[in-house]
Symmetry: C2
Subunit: 279 residues, 2 copies
Amino acid sequence: MLINGVASDVISSLDRWLHYGDGLFETIAVKNGKLQLWDQHMQRLADGCDRLGLPKIDPELLHDEATRLFSEKNNDPQAILKIIVTRGVGGRGYHSPETPSVTRILLRYPWPSFPDHHWQEGIHVEVCKTRLGSNPVLAGMKHLNRLEQVMASREWCEPEVQEGLMLDLQGNVIEGTRTNLFIIKNDQLITPDLSMCGVEGVMRGEIINNIAKRLGIKVHMRAVNQETLATADELFLCNSIIGIWPVKSFGKTVYSRFYLTRKLMNSLEQQLAHRGIDL
Amino acid sequence: MLINGVASDVISSLDRWLHYGDGLFETIAVKNGKLQLWDQHMQRLADGCDRLGLPKIDPELLHDEATRLFSEKNNDPQAILKIIVTRGVGGRGYHSPETPSVTRILLRYPWPSFPDHHWQEGIHVEVCKTRLGSNPVLAGMKHLNRLEQVMASREWCEPEVQEGLMLDLQGNVIEGTRTNLFIIKNDQLITPDLSMCGVEGVMRGEIINNIAKRLGIKVHMRAVNQETLATADELFLCNSIIGIWPVKSFGKTVYSRFYLTRKLMNSLEQQLAHRGIDL
């Protein structure tokens, strides 16, 4: 781990990160020495800093530090870079320091070992009892207040449930605990509106703004309920690490068609193979 | 600071506290060598652990550590003890470790210097633009996901606004950014219902269950809107550190009567003078 560019494995007890979750994070796939979707992660981070009132972070500085973090280790073909940005050290109390000095933390994690059949045959998902609270002030951001996801993840310990879907208090389906959701109906994509809660995933953005566009597939962002899922042609989940996982079943509903999901998966793989920022 | 009983000023970068705000805290007044409302703080902590699925913490162990933390310092007549309890060190991802080993952190802070007139003449409050999201899974707990309070506190930098009131998305008044709210109308107390959002403050509980009861004042917990505040006879805010602050004005509404608020303040002072756990 690097903290403000210095190797360390501990954090100051006065960092506002700890006391309030006052910051943001990015989880970035590192494949064959390339930081995947780097520009998109840096754009989301900049937008989040803007919304939280944090000073902007120089992406080149973060890139230099990422390079140092990864050059010190064995070069695994795949790894994860987690970047955390916080409002820095402050006194007791919610009031922000007048001139916050941002703390930036870069962590290196090994690549997680998911079974191949999650991509090949798809996964089984269930609905979580834990709901997402709504708040437009925080919606969309990848901030560090993640107790709702922690509580939801505690509900599913059985290995046969690979992801839990979270609803808002009105019963709209918003996202998975660590993934965004897409529905395919009549050869078009539908993904939940995230203006009131949820995380605007970088992979979600990539699918909407690049992959679907290239394939000429229309994307609708709107309210989605469980009925929409039960009557969908196909479903899939995505994030920056897994890419796309088809959903083979949601509760008692079984999906037998993966046609458009496969097409999107193939296009995504091709796109990513040619891109990424060198470490 | 003590971490699991060991003096330190840094935290492991892998603690779930940092990554998700996965834990709880208590802010306790220490006056003349006594931990004020200790049993009530320990009860709220135990309830929170239960709801988050954290192993229970032995209050005697926390008391022993508090004694050590305060004996090492000059004995200021007043200080603050902050206790933080987290789900401990875990891997990447929201899933909880199967057998979480709780991290307990005790921090000592100097007593904050509020001017006397906050108690004597009352404070001015305004409504924050930042709303509180609703979620019964987290409502009431003093957990570590506090970005809403951070964002709300950023709105009021002027010294003439001493506290901001936070509404939920439906427009109900819930609480201050760091205080609970009471309304006095027709010699009865009204305090916002906190079943959907807000923090069930220890001082709020003390006023409801002890102080008001002793004075024979009825307390109603229910939905409160801004009109209820504008037509109130008196208003006051409370927390474990400040005790009770009368409100002299809310927006354009000025309160000229502090009769029952003073009575509650005097009774609270008398009660606390005789209580507390020795350090």
